[in-house]
Symmetry: C2
Subunit: 399 residues, 2 copies
């Protein structure tokens, strides 16, 4: 049988990161390529106690079908936390539970975008989200990401150049892959431009709670008086990534359409882990636990940046994130990025080529993404030394 595939999925390839991730079964490779939270960020003992209690006292509910919007006590707890800690959620907004943060991004695009509509995104951006948009038939168009976010004038020009723009996708805080945080001034300017042009903003904030330095900056959703922002986040980086529990806070009309889409995709999110998450939020010290994760990542990020400062020759530059999981390393002129990635892998260090994160996958990139949450301290020391030697070799070869 010759198979012919749909317009939306036919040309879509599996994510390059995911393919790299699958090839990392060689235990001798030091991986800076993953995006996994540190294992210590999952409070396994507390979750085990809660699981035992739910099996004992509430198994009939936890194992049965639930409703698509999510477990009501969890929805209420998330909505309360968003309101009290982040100033998010007005009368027009509704909070629902999704199967990880990615489902929220995908459902937002699925609800709003028809085939050929345009999603603008920071360039580079999270490849998983870009693929989700493409799977909905949307076209992804990049707006170059500067040191403190995209340029508002460039955003407006992009909207004008693409009249079918429906959505602006942003990770304003500790962006993946760059680690960059959009400034408060730019957040306000971006919101104002989107509002003026009737473009919805999809604000993705999976790393926002992982700040280990600097001052918090309010989310874009916190200033959303007009109901143009769909806010997505998840518990993947603070409780468990494998459980797939995320959430969306967005204008009710948009949420209702996303719920229809979610019903078609998976009916509802794993109910048992929705109940565990609710119990953890209300019976344990979630904020205290998050502070412990911040300590781990502060240590690991500081260590990696220190090692890179010591090891990498002049001309290689890095972002200096105040939170999140990633550092973005940019090569000097004349150092071909893909050669660097391939030769690093030959020397048993894996990094992700920056081209994997571009809205136009054929465009050239001079950067790589480095992850510090997954490798051990020793691997961070040894891996950065390998990268430093390679960089020096390549500079010497360039002459």
């Amino acid at each position: 049988m010759e198979y012919t595939f749909s317009d939306n999925l036919g040309s879509l390839k599996p994510s390059a990161i995911r393919e790299i991730f699958k090839s990392l079964t060689d235990p001798s490779i030091i991986s800076f390529a993953a995006g996994n939270p540190a294992p210590q960020s999952f409070p396994a003992d507390a979750l085990a106690d809660l699981a035992a209690d739910i099996f004992k006292n509430n198994a009939a509910v936890a194992l049965q079908y639930g409703i698509t919007e999510g477990y009501t006590p969890l929805r209420q707890a998330v909505a309360r936390r968003l309101r009290e800690k982040f100033g998010i959620g007005r009368a027009i907004d509704t909070t629902i539970i999704t199967s990880g943060g990615t489902q929220g991004l995908e459902l937002c695009c699925r609800a709003l975008c028809s085939r050929g509509d345009v999603v603008l995104a920071e360039d580079p951006s999270f490849i998983g989200a870009l693929n989700s948009f493409r799977a909905c038939g949307a076209e992804t168009v990049g707006v170059p990401l500067g040191a403190d976010g995209i340029d508002p004038a460039a955003l407006e020009a992009a909207i004008l150049a693409h009249p079918r723009t429906k959505l602006l996708y942003l990770i304003p805080t500790f962006q993946n892959p760059s680690g960059i945080t959009t400034s408060w001034e730019k957040r306000k300017a971006i919101y104002e431009i989107a509002r003026r042009h009737g473009v919805m903003i999809l604000e993705d904030n999976p790393y926002g709670e992982l700040r280990f330095a600097g001052e918090d900056i309010p989310t874009i959703k916190s200033i959303d008086e007009e109901g143009i922002v769909v806010y997505c986040s998840s518990f993947s980086k603070i409780l468990s990534a494998g459980m797939r529990v995320g959430y969306v806070c967005a204008p009710d009309a948009v949420v209702q359409k996303m719920v229809v889409g979610k019903q078609c995709e998976d009916v509802h999110t794993n109910l048992f882990f929705q109940m565990i998450t609710y119990r953890y939020m209300t019976e344990y010290d979630l904020d205290g636990h998050i502070r412990e994760i911040q300590d781990i990542y502060r240590h690991k990020c500081t260590l990696m940046l220190g090692c890179l400062d010591a090891a990498m020759p002049k001309g290689f530059t890095f972002t200096r994130p105040e939170g999140g999981l990633f550092i973005w390393c940019t090569m000097p002129d004349g150092i071909p990025m893909m050669d660097f990635v391939k030769r690093a892998l030959e020397r048993k260090v894996a990094v992700v080529p920056g081209s994997a994160f571009l809205c136009d996958p054929t465009a050239e990139s001079h950067s790589v993404r480095l992850n510090y949450s997954t490798p051990s301290d020793d691997d961070i020391r040894r891996g950065t030394a390998v990268l430093g030697t390679l960089a020096a070799d390549m500079l010497r070869e360039r002459g």
Copy 2:
């Protein structure tokens, strides 16, 4: 802000069943409207023991990100069971894990169908699947369901009348909503017609293991030499519906495209419950557990049919399923089905109107769906008596 929604989701409404399900919070209502497995069908104690062990010995894996295709030991265990018990799975086929059976149905359509392509389905059919197909932009067209499946000649006529037919969706065993099982002769004839016309078959078999009477009939997938059948099922009816663990066995080329779609939707299925499912399959007596569920449903179905035989006046007819969860009740001429449903609800008995399951939602139906897996024995007795009295009242009024 005025929101405009996508072509695919814009006109899609939440499922009528789901809305009925949400309105059933009144505990005085006897519900024959749900599709929930009996609570006894979830082996909670065994799952609790396995969960405790996984938290103790394997939490770092279970709480971390997994791969999109699913937990490898579970994929292998499912593939082995499909091969050994059902003769399913050839060299061209691959088995992956999905977030419930519904995700497999949706991903199959998403991979194969572009906007405007046609999915043929038994009429009536499972409304959740029909909506999933519509959410992918496909048009659903019904082929009337007879007492032993759709008519092969009618199927061929429908394919010829709809040149954009890509997919034929079937629940051949204990169909939802009708409880009807497609005969072996018709399965072979349907396969042959689909093969000849290059139409893929999506075989949905969530109830196949719930046979409590009669002889097993081989699945259509078991005769699929050509690689035209995508087979979907789940653990929802035999281990837990709330955990959302299902699976697909289909030609590898199709599966690969579905994996790309799944990555865009939820990255992977809850890993902890994939591990629990694998452990249960390999350390407990799954077949013995299924026999216990069959005993429960044999009892409940026999009870409901006996009560209906005694209570319902002549002219009301029922299917007599040999497994699954549902009985399909058809009204005599001159009894308006929606009136029956509304008046039953006034008398505190909920049933689902047959129109909710039609491919053309504006078409007329003279049937309702009755579920026997969820209500207690006492509710089955009392609820059927109420329906019998109502039926007699309506016949008398008709004159």
